[in-house]
Structure formats: C-alpha cells, structure tokens
Symmetry: C3
C-alpha cells in the first residue's frame, strides 16, 4: 500500500483526536476527586462510585442509542440512523460528522467522552443524598436521550445549526456544560437540600468538604483535561487552530483563577481554595464555546468575569436555598450560559481562527448575540423540562433519595457497605512494643489468630 500525504494527514489527525479524547476521559478522575473532596468523608465512596461508574454507563448508552440520536441522519430535531453502530468501517449514517476525515471509530470515541462529561457534571449537585441506583439510571437516560437530542440541534445538523447566524458553541459551553448544568439544577431542586444544610428559618449552615488534597489534584486534572476538550474539538491537528485554542483556554483558566481568588479574598476575608478552584473551572467552562473565536485579551476577559460569577453564584444559589454541595451549578450552568453568550460579545475574526462573524465588541452588532441567546434559551428550556420528567419518573419508579438515617450515617455505609478511609483499623501509631507482643486489631479474635499463626509460622 502506497503512503500518501492525505493518508498521513488522517493518521496525524486521528492521533490528535485520540490523544485529546484520552485527556477528556481523564476528566472523570478530575470530577471524582473534586466532588468527593468537597463532600464529607462519610459519602466519599458513594461519590467516587458514581463518578467512576458513570463513564461505563455512558459508553453503553451512547453506543446503543445516543450517538445515533445525536449525529445520525434525521431531521432538524433528532438523528434517526446508526443505532448500535459497528464503527469499523466508514458509515453513511453520520453525515453530520463528515467534516472531519478521521475514522468513524475515532469520531465516536471523541463524542463519547463528551457525553460522559455531560453526565458526570450532574453528580456533584445531587451528591450526599441521591440513591446510587437512581443516579445510574438517570445517567443512562442522560447519555442515551437528553444530551444527544439537545446536542443534535447544535452539533448534529439540527435546527440551531442552520439558522442564518448559527449558534456557535465550539467545544460545548452549552452542549456539554449547560446541558449538564440544567439537569443538575432540576435534580438538586427535586431532591431537596441535604439534612442540616438549611435550618427551619432557612438559615444556611456550611457543610465542609473533607479532603482539599483531592480537590486540588482534581482541579489540576480538569485543567489538563480541558487541553483535550477544547483543542481536540478541532478533530484535526490544524497547527494554528490547536495552538490558539490551547492558549485561549489557558488564559481564561488563569484569569478565572485570579478573579475568583480576589473575589473570595474580598468577600470571605481569606482566599478560599475551593472557590479558587471553582473559579478556574468557571473560566474553562466559559471559554469553551468561544475558544476558537476570541483573542487572548477576549479570553482573559471572559475567564475573568467567569471567576467572579462563580463566586457570586455560590452565594446566590444558597440564597435560593438550592443545595449544590460542590458548586456544580455555579461552574457549569452559570458559566456555560455566560460563555455561550460571550461569543456574541467577544468573537473576532481578525484576532482568532474563527471564520464566522464578529461579536458585539468587534463591530458585528447584535446578530451573534441574539443567536447565542436563543441557543441558550431553547436548550435550557428543553433540558429543564425533559430532565425534570426523567427525575420524577425515576422517583416514581424506585425513589430518588436515601432515607434520613442513611443520609446521617453516610451513603458509604448505606449504599456500598464500606468506608472510604480506615486509618485506625489496626496498629498504626508505631507505639514501641516488646518483641513477641502483638497489638490488638479490631477484627474479633485477631490477637488469638495472630498468636496461632505466628506459632504456625515458626513450626
């Protein structure tokens, strides 16, 4: 087989798509660490399990149903071809993805990790009170139906992509983050607040997270993952595009970090690390829609505003008595919206790799901003209603919320029968001991067993 230049380009593009998809896959670890760390130790296994299993569920659901609904050939509302695709050879069922020439398997894999991200966003907002089974079920509905249908409208050739000024959502501020955010919002409302979060006068009581080491590592993994999320959405190793997008992504993250740092320092007197990390994520969510379409300065502005919005929104949702244990709504919903609208304001054809229209600040008038607003509103309305219906159906079928006793004792014991940490199960303080004298362990009868086994060992 002769080696050709176009083949080699496809090989490079495929390597790029897979590499970036792996980074996005790794965001599952980031979400697991951030969310579990920001919640209490007694619910840690449960949150880890949700975040771990959700990608497996997404893989099956998106393969069987979701990918076809999102990218299959169909009508402006939904895709209708390509269920349970074999993916080994090219397929004519997914003409909405014809713009990239990588193999069908690579297209699917890249889209799959995005679907998984949308599902995992929900996890944080419903943490510390949702039944494990109910969450798993919702994740399947999310990745099989909700995300694919709304995603079809913008990315699958649906009606929001064929407007005279199409909605521009390059890597998914709306398609991934605000869809996840709306489903998180309805879930948090329908579930209600955690016990003890608000007292009968509505006064909020802060519930502290339990592991900032994990939150910080998770935040950095997510920041890393976004270098897959945004630059990978080119689905080709276009040198100017991927370099520009890596930069706008990073500068928005940096700006969000610094403005949330300042906002937190000002409002809370001391810089709160969890606010700072959410500020980074807010900047990243916000730049996602327009990472290709704005300049370095535009990215800094978008991210900087996002960082402040994230801090304000945390207090706003608390005021509304909506209990979001990890700030998922402030990050993904609020800034998914902000980032999508911001494209209409900051898009610049000269200062970016974008070939569409200029935004408001660059002389493009209101056209883009109107389209973006419409995109936000239409998707939001649909997902808010559809996700509410899904939550309520699951509630009717198997119940959504664990019992009050289980919630108080912790979901780790109630749902999984195991604690996250066992630090003092056995001798751990290295107290000096006489040789041959064995410490008691808390397994009943261990002292005797140890003695017996030791004797046996000596024989």
């Amino acid at each position: 087989m002769e080696l050709t230049l176009p083949d080699l380009k496809i090989a490079l593009d495929t390597a790029w798509v897979l590499f970036t998809a792996f980074l996005v896959f790794f965001m599952n670890a980031g979400f697991a660490l951030v969310e579990s760390g920001l919640c209490r130790a007694k619910n840690c296994v449960n949150i880890l399990a949700k975040n771990y299993v959700v990608f497996a569920v997404s893989t099956l659901a998106f393969w069987l149903v979701g990918f076809a609904l999102m990218f299959g050939n169909g009508n402006p509302l939904v895709g209708l071809t390509g269920f349970v695709p074999s993916l080994i050879n090219g397929s004519s069922s997914f003409s909405a993805l014809d713009w990239t020439s990588v193999p069908m398997a690579a297209k699917f894999f890249f889209q799959l990790v995005f679907a998984g991200t949308a599902a995992t966003i929900v996890s944080g907002a419903v943490a510390e009170r949702i039944k494990f089974g109910a969450f798993i079920l919702f994740s399947a509905v999310m990745t099989a139906f909700l995300y694919p249908v709304a995603g079809h409208w913008i990315w699958g050739g649906g009606f929001l992509s064929t407007l005279s000024t199409p909605v521009h959502d390059f890597a998914g501020s709306t398609v991934v983050h605000s869809i996840g955010g709306w489903a998180a919002l309805t879930g948090a409302i329908i579930l209600g607040a955690r016990l003890g979060r608000f007292d009968r006068n509505g006064k909020p009581h802060a519930i502290r997270g339990h592991n900032m080491m994990s939150v910080t590592l998770g935040g950095l993994i997510l920041w890393l993952g976004w270098f897959g999320f945004n630059p990978g959405s080119t689905m080709a190793a276009d040198s100017r595009a991927i370099a520009h997008i890596a930069l706008t992504t990073n500068i928005a993250a940096a700006a969000g970090t610094l403005t949330s740092l300042l906002a937190s320092w000002y409002m809370q007197k001391k810089p709160d690390l969890s606010m700072i990390i959410n500020g980074t994520l807010a900047g990243l969510v916000a730049i996602t829609a327009g990472c290709d379409a704005v300049s370095m300065a535009g990215a800094a502005a978008i991210g900087g505003i996002a960082g402040v919005l994230a801090v304000l929104a945390v207090f706003g949702f608390e005021k509304l008595r909506i209990d979001d244990p990890v700030g998922a709504l402030s990050v993904h919903l609020v800034n998914g919206i902000w980032g999508t609208l911001a494209v209409g304001i900051f898009a610049t054809v000269d200062g970016s790799i974008f070939t569409g229209a200029n935004g408001l600040l660059y002389g493009g008038g209101m056209a883009m901003l109107k389209s973006q607003t419409m995109g936000v509103a239409v998707v939001g309305t649909f997902v808010a209603f559809a996700s509410s219906a899904a939550w309520l159906a699951i509630k009717a079928a198997i119940g959504l919320r664990v019992g009050a006793v289980e919630e108080t004792e912790g979901l780790d014991e109630g749902e999984h029968g195991m604690p996250a940490y066992v630090m003092n199960d056995e001798v751990s303080d290295f107290a000096p001991m006489a040789a041959g004298e064995f410490a008691m362990t808390n397994i009943p009868g261990t002292r005797r067993i140890v003695a017996e086994n030791t004797a046996a060992l000596k024989r």
Copy 2:
C-alpha cells in the same frame, strides 16, 4: 536535509509510540494507588515504595539483560544479541522488531514500560508481608530473565510465534498480565497468607483496604494507561487500527465495570467499589490480547465475562486459602488467561482490523482456540516453575517474609521507618487560642523551642 514523506511518517509513528509509552509508564502510579489503597494504612509506605522503585529496577535490568533475551536475535527459546544496547543508532541485533520503523530507542522504551508493568503486577499479591529487599530482588529477576524469556516465545520470534496458527496476543494478556499473574500466584503461595487473614479453621477474615480515594484514582489512571497499552502496541499511528483498538479497549472496560457491579450487587447485597474497579481492570486485561481482532460486540462480551470472572475469582482464591490482598490474581492471571483464549472464540477478520483467522464463533473452527490454549499453558507452566525457583532461591538467600512482630506493627515502620500519614502530629484542629499561647507539639520540648524561637524572632 530534505523532508520526505516516509521520514514524516516515522516521526509521527515515533511521537505516537512515545506518547502511548508515557501513558503506560503512568500506569505505575495507577498500580501504586490501587494496591496501597486496598491494603492497610500501616503498610502503605512499603507498598508505595515497592511500586515506585520497581520501574527503576526494571529500567536497569531490562536495559542490561532483558531486552536482549526477549528481542535479540537467537533461537526459538531465547534471544542472544544486544546486551546493554547503546540504542542511539539502528541495530541489527533486534530483527524481531524490524516490523516497526521507529528508532531503536523508541522500540526499547515502549518494550521497557511493558516489562515494568509485568513486574509491578506481582507487587499486589505479595503485599503486606514481603520484605522490601526480597521484592526488589525478585523484580530484577523478573525483568531481566522471566518476562523476557517467555515474552521471546510470542513477541520475540520464538516458537509460539512460528506455529502454523501463531499464538495471537496483541498487547499482552498472556505476555504481560498472565506472566505477572503466575509469578504473583507462586509468590502468594510461597509467602503464605497474612496473619489474621484465615483462622485455624480456615475461616477467612476480610482485611479492609484503607483509602478508596486512592483506589479510585488509581483505577482511572490504569484505565487511561490502557489507552496507551493497547492502541500503542501498533507501534505506528495507523489511523484505522488505533481508533478501533481504543474503542474495543474502552467498551470491554465499560462492560467489565457494569457486570462486576451487578455481580457484586447480587452476591454482596451492595455494590462494592473495589470489586467494580477490579471489574474494569479485568475487562481491560481480557481485551488486551484481542483488542485488534474483535468487534465492538465481541469486546463487550469479553469484557462483560471478565467482570463476572473477577468477582467470582476473588471468592475462589479465598476458598483456596490463597491470600491476594488486592485481587491481582483475579484480575491479571484469571483474565489474562480468559482474554487470550477469547481471541480463539471472538476473532473476526471482517469486524476488526485483524488479518489472521476467524475464531470459533465466526466460523474459524478450533484452530485459533487450540493455539491460544497452548500459548496459555506453555507460558503458564514455565513461569510457574521458574518464578517458584526464583522465590525459593531468594528465600534461601535473604528470606522472603518479614517477622510476625513487624507484620503486625506494619511494614512502614519495620522496612522504612516512617508512617504514610501523620494527621495529628501537631496542632490540626484549629482550636481557638489566645495570642502568644502556643500549642504543644509532639516533638519533645517543642513548646519551649517555640517560645525561644518566637522570642528570637522578635529581637
């Protein structure tokens, strides 16, 4: 120097090989986190140290000896050329690797990270009772001799690769995982169970892991690492191949996750997160041999069966009174075997990128299954005997097992003189204090020192 298309292809292939090798290298972190988290806090430093140092040992041993034995030109049993290779220029000593055109240094590096993986698999099964020095020594033997010799038979041009139907082990279900698994099995048997694991009536007592945060992160790092392990084994950025393999790898992982979830939920009443994570790993181990040769549906079946096998095997090894603290045997040995055999069942030339023969289910008859069975049996027999000999030799030379006192107190203190966690070493509860009043720390005399230093600071 003129730029040519073949040179550029080599550059791309090299970038791909290195990128995927880095992911496989990072699996060291995954194994360290999973294994240490599934063991007790008092042995955490020891397990981390073993997993950390083992790659350094592998690097030296594989460079000096192992690479030559595995890939050197030689005979059907062993390679004999290329010891301590310089690797800077092409070498005629390794004709078994001529099929890929990347530089010799890249070939070596990719094979090295695989050797390291085989060695690190052993660590979990012998954890919480093996001497640090004994493990290090065994790792050197493993990567210098055991792994390279058996690996030569399948990957180095040895006798299992020249059968009329050659053994097909694309990325190493047998070569890496079952070799590691067999050495782990003999080690676990020769060492005996941990004190307290079984009482004198043979009744098992579960010993809980200590840190599920770490286990979960480790599991996700390993899942990520497998995207290097399998797609990288092409050793070239062949677009159709790497995309297909990424997908089969992922769907097997997802299926293993879900079936182990269901099996654990059914058998243990509640879904056990450590079982679920081992289920993922089981799916990944099992798909490793045939990731190139099976379809999406085949991969789902292989992974799904692997997830159930992993759960059943944990209880099986417990019945046999073999103590495997982290489930390494259930994951790597059982599913290394299953995955190798599965190629003989599920291989499909039409539904994959494979150009060999079809398996049993696709009309290929028993030919492949027979070869695969022979590969499993021959390699297993050799490694079981050779690793036993190595364990026993080390036992005779320096002893394998720590003393009962040390085991009870923990190997962190006994082998390394340091605890993994010091959470309450000093003031950590932020009790309100009057200015100028200093808390006691547990360093003798610190209160006085603090006072003195403070006075000094004020001068």
Copy 3:
C-alpha cells in the same frame, strides 16, 4: 487549500509541542502533591493553594512582560520587543525562537509552562512559614523579570549563548531548575527556619511530612511530566531526537532512584521513601541540561551521582541550618548545577544526537566544562542577588513571614480559614445505630436540625 508536506510537518510538530507542554503543565500537580505531602497537615491547604495559583500568576506575568524580556529582540542582556503579544499570527518580535517553525502561540505556550515550573520550585523551600500574598507577589516578579532575564542569556540569544563555546542547557537544568533553586535558597535564608526546626543549640529536629500517598503520586507525575519537559524541548517531532531524549531522561531518573535508595539505606539504616523520590527528581533535574548530548551510559552516571548528591545535600543544608522543608534545594539547586556541569564532562557527539563538542571524558578537553561553569556562576550570581532584592522589597512592603501564633496553629487556618482534611466532622465510624437515632455532628445545633428536617421530609 492544498495540503503540503511542510505544512503537515508543522502540524505534527505543533501537536508534539502542545502534547509535551500539557505534560509539563501537569507537573504543577506533581509539585503540589510532593510539597504538600512532605509538609504538615496543618499547612496543606496553603501549600496546595500556592502551587495551584502560581501557574495562573505565571500565565499573566509571562504573557504581559516575561516572554518579551526573555525572547524578544533586544540586546545580549535582555529582550525588548513583544510585550503583551497577540500571538495569533507570526511575529517578527521573537527572532530567538525562529529555529522552530510551529505557530507563535505554541512557542509561547511551551515557554510559559517552563516559566511556571521555575516559579513553583520556590514554593517548597519557603513552605510552612511564608505569607500567601508574599509568595504570590514573588511569583509574579519571578516570572515577569528574574526568570526571563537570566533565561534570555542562554535561550533568548543573550551573551551566554554567543560564547565561542556556548553554554549548553538543552531543557533547563540551569535556566529552569537552578534559577528556581537560587530564588528558593535566598527565600529560605531570608525567611529563616520554621519554629521548632532547630533548637537554641542549633540541633535539628526533623519535622515529618504528613502524606506519603500524595508524595509518591506527585513523584510519578513529575517523572511523567519530565517526558514532556525534555523530549518536548526539541520543539519538533524529530524522531531520533525525541526517542533518544526520552531514554536518557528515564535512565537518569532510574539511576537516581536506585542510588538514593542505596544511599538512604546506608545512611539512615532503612530506605526512606521521600529520599528515594527526591533521588528520582535529582536524576531528572541533572539530566535536563544534557539529555540530548549524552549516551545511555552517560545518563546513568549523571543520574546516579545526582541521587547520591540529593541525599547528601539534605544533610548538608541541615548542617548549615537552612530549613528547606521538602528538599527543593537538594533537588533543583544542587542538581541543576551538577547537571549543567555534567554536560561538560559527559557530552558525546557520537553517542547522542548532539552536534556540538565533546565533553571532558570524550576527548573534548575543558572547553565545554569551562563554559558550563561560567553559565552556572553567572546565572547563580545574578539570581541570588536579584531574588534577594525581591524578597527584601516584599518584606519591606507587606512582610514575608506569618506570625508565630499562626505558624504554630497552621497556615491553613491563618491564611485560608479552612483545614485540608475533615475526617471526623460527622459520623464516620459506622457504629451501629438504632433507626431514627441520629449522630451528633459538630455543626452547632445539627442534631436538632436533623430531627426537624427529617420530620419535614416525612410530611
């Protein structure tokens, strides 16, 4: 647009540069984990926050000022063009980077992550006593001025790069690591030792780290990150170069791991895991300058010596009563110097991809060693003075060190108002409870709130 071979090469090179830059970015996580784990739990949030925020600060400072001073066209002492660059199109302001053909945005991004690394090195040496704001301020000065100016001399076309035998510092043993190390040294001296570290007789008291799980993971992340740091510094996917550099990097790391293991085992009686991890990092720092210029054997020697130096230096700095909580000086300063000098000893044109001159051991005489020594001395002198001035200016302006009460209580509470870990905030031991009986939490009044909310839930 027609596809051309040169364009495709640029695309591949850009993908390589971004991929490796992402790995270097991820080193921020490695540093955060290593440093916080090696310090006390009561200062963990503070150390995480410093390491987290420093990259955001670096992004802004390097974009606004630093990149222009380092790579802008100017004179032998400093760059003067290209402040606040737009980076979207090629720029004639940075002729020092013309040697690589990737887009300007990719050049900037790669250099940015290096600047961030230099800044983050400082963090460990000043940990557990520096004010958060003072560190942030110093980081800005570091990445806007100190690092760029000294870096200009070697990488930006400055006077050390135009010597008859130019200083050879391929990936930054001096430019990144020893610059960071010198600034860390002056900071540690000016701040003084932590309370309790030395008593009034100068006798040292070891202060233990609190989380070896985190340190080990961090160490492996840094090892991974170095596969970006060194092979990425080619700024092109040159197949022979990147494969060779990946190997020399790895073998130096492995050698440093093993020699520090042996040195620690010999000197401390038991192998200390934190010493071993620092030994790896020492090997990595040392090979950074000459990773392109030495052979496998040379790399093993450089890394092996580095591992011993790291262990010895820890005790050396302790003797000098310089308090470096994480061993940053032993790793980055001592081995940054050693690695730079080692190029003059081990450089080999035949055994590497280097096209310069041979070092001392390969018949090149003293020429290279002299240049390297001069590079070390000039950069060291400048950074020692300039960083001292910066530290003293910040001390005068806002103060450097937290109060003694805050230091004793921990900086997490004092600087951030939050603890890193809340393990026992609420029910976490799963003691058997009668249904309906709720555990007390330590949020005032929670028992009552729980009861009320439960009642509400039942209505």
